[in-house]
């Protein structure tokens, strides 16, 4: 018996969400009295570091290849290893690729599936996991009644925790055959941290008046080391790229800090951000609905307030 973790390595590198999944799997393994095994597919120079997060064994498939994502190929690799290791729970990231084969694996393994869980399960009485539902307005606790389970973990739900040392991965080379989805091009968006993984996010809305004014938002984000986001009308008007759009119809995020600048706080916007730990709202209208969802609020003209905040952050960082 074991807990199996599938860890992704986009661009040949395991990122924070990968260490979160590793931490989740190793903690779950402890509560189930078993060990955790991680699978990494394709290039990942830091695969051995998964051991630091409590993973007992790392299986690294085709470590020298760029293995592009195909849900059928990945399902075969992961389900074969799941069976080989007699696992009963599979843990993976609630990421675009993770979600693209979690359901497939659930069918292949006759497993119950809950996606987007936000905390470790309780295993005393059944297998209870919780997730945020209805645009963050409620939490649902699920029981998975099958002996096998597949769960995907929402980013920023668990703090990566170093409790062990690097391990030497088992290197395995397999014949990948010819995947049915043939990737021809990957366009990496410019900019630092991808939004779903960012711990600090600076976001701006229609209050900015136009794309030419975004310099002050970027300055604040740079001072903080934050990712940038925007409201939907801003992305729709092409003031900002689409991948920055957060909310019900965009990306859902849960950073530690979300700073909303010139955003009114419509329910569809809140749907994507109200799981943030701390929300700061900067708006000139004291009646803006966003203040109701905020922890800290500044009533004022963003064109004055934002540069002042950037200066204060810089001063703080230099101390």
């Amino acid at each position: 018996m074991s807990v199996l973790a599938y860890i992704e390595s986009p661009g040949g590198h395991i990122k924070k969400i990968g260490f979160e999944v590793a931490t989740y799997a190793s903690k779950l393994a402890v509560s189930l009295n078993t060990t955790s095994v991680a699978i990494v597919i394709g290039k990942a120079e830091n695969a051995g570091s998964l051991g630091q997060y409590g993973i007992t064994k790392v299986i690294h498939i085709n470590p020298n290849d760029d293995v592009s994502f195909d849900s059928q190929l990945y399902t075969k690799i992961v389900s074969d290893l799941y069976k080989e290791h007699g696992a009963n729970t599979l843990v993976m990231a609630h990421s675009a690729n993770g979600k693209s084969f979690a359901g497939r694996l659930a069918i292949r393994l006759n497993a119950g599936c809950v996606s987007g869980v936000n905390a470790l399960p309780s295993v005393e009485n059944g297998f209870l996991v919780s997730k945020s539902v209805y645009s963050g307005k409620a939490t649902a606790t699920y029981n998975i009644s099958t002996p096998d389970r597949v769960i995907t973990v929402m980013g920023n739900s668990i703090q990566p925790e170093k409790i062990g040392n690097d391990v030497t991965p088992d290197l395995v080379n397999i014949d990948l055959g010819s995947p049915k989805v043939k990737v021809t091009e990957i366009k990496v968006e410019a900019g630092g941290v991808p939004l779903p993984e960012a711990e600090l996010v600076v976001s701006a809305g229609r209050g900015m008046k136009g794309p030419e004014n975004w310099g002050i938002v970027e300055d604040l984000a740079n001072a903080l080391g934050a990712a940038t986001a925007c409201s939907r009308p801003v992305a729709d008007a092409d003031w900002r790229p689409h991948h920055e759009h957060v909310g019900q119809t965009g990306v859902a995020i849960r950073p530690n800090l979300y700073i909303a600048i010139g955003i009114s706080g419509a329910i569809q916007h809140l749907a994507g951000v109200n799981n943030s730990k701390v929300i700061v709202v900067i708006n000139k209208d004291p009646e803006a609905p966003f203040f109701k969802a905020a922890d800290y609020g500044v009533v004022g003209d963003l064109f004055d307030v934002v540069p002042r905040l950037t200066e204060a952050i810089k001063k703080f960082k230099n101390q």
Partner: protein, 246 residues
Amino acid sequence: MNILVCISKTPDTTSKISFKSDDTEYNSDGVTFIMNPYDEWYALVRALEITEQMGGSVTVINVGPASNDIIIRKALAIGATDAVRVDIDAQDAFVVANNIAAHAKSKNYDMIFLGKETIDYNGSEVGAMVAELLDWPYASYVSQLDVNGNISTITRELEGSEEVSQIEGSFVLSAAKGLAEQRIPNMKGIMMAKSKPLVVVPASDTVARVAVVKYAIPPAKSGVKLIDQDNMDELVRALHEDAKVI
């Protein structure tokens, strides 16, 4: 080209959320339901565009009770050819996927489109499950699709990147923003929808594998702390010392 489009029903986001039966059941009293936006705006419209260009038909399927007919009629009004409803109030994604796959196996669809997720539970599970049950490739989070004979070129939206790929033959697709532009049904569409076929079929006897045992509403924020706009040092101090996020 015959395309099956899977449509689901969700509460409008602005609805007030409450629960009943000791917080084990969603309370739908007084809630306005809509067709899931990803299904309606992107999956359905792109399917219509493709069949308008290449010929063929668009069938919509919903797994759900008779009260879902309202969204099915809307899909027909937007332009779908015909509709199927599998008559069961499905409790999990597995039951939904099994019923969709069972129907698909009995017909001859070239492609199956879904939304990338429902906006109430954000599961993103059904598409991958249907693809596995049919042993078809799965193109998820698709923001662009071009069909050229038997070869389809797709663009997928990932975290911080876009991936372009090609698939030969049939596949399951989940639709993301950008795939198409929303269409508003017109009067003629609404009138025609009334006479389009909606076939109700019994469900397969699949047993749900997961179930919600409890809902909870998170405690409200304790209230916003207002900070004077001339004192940004105080905001930085609070974020560092009190909230401990920077």
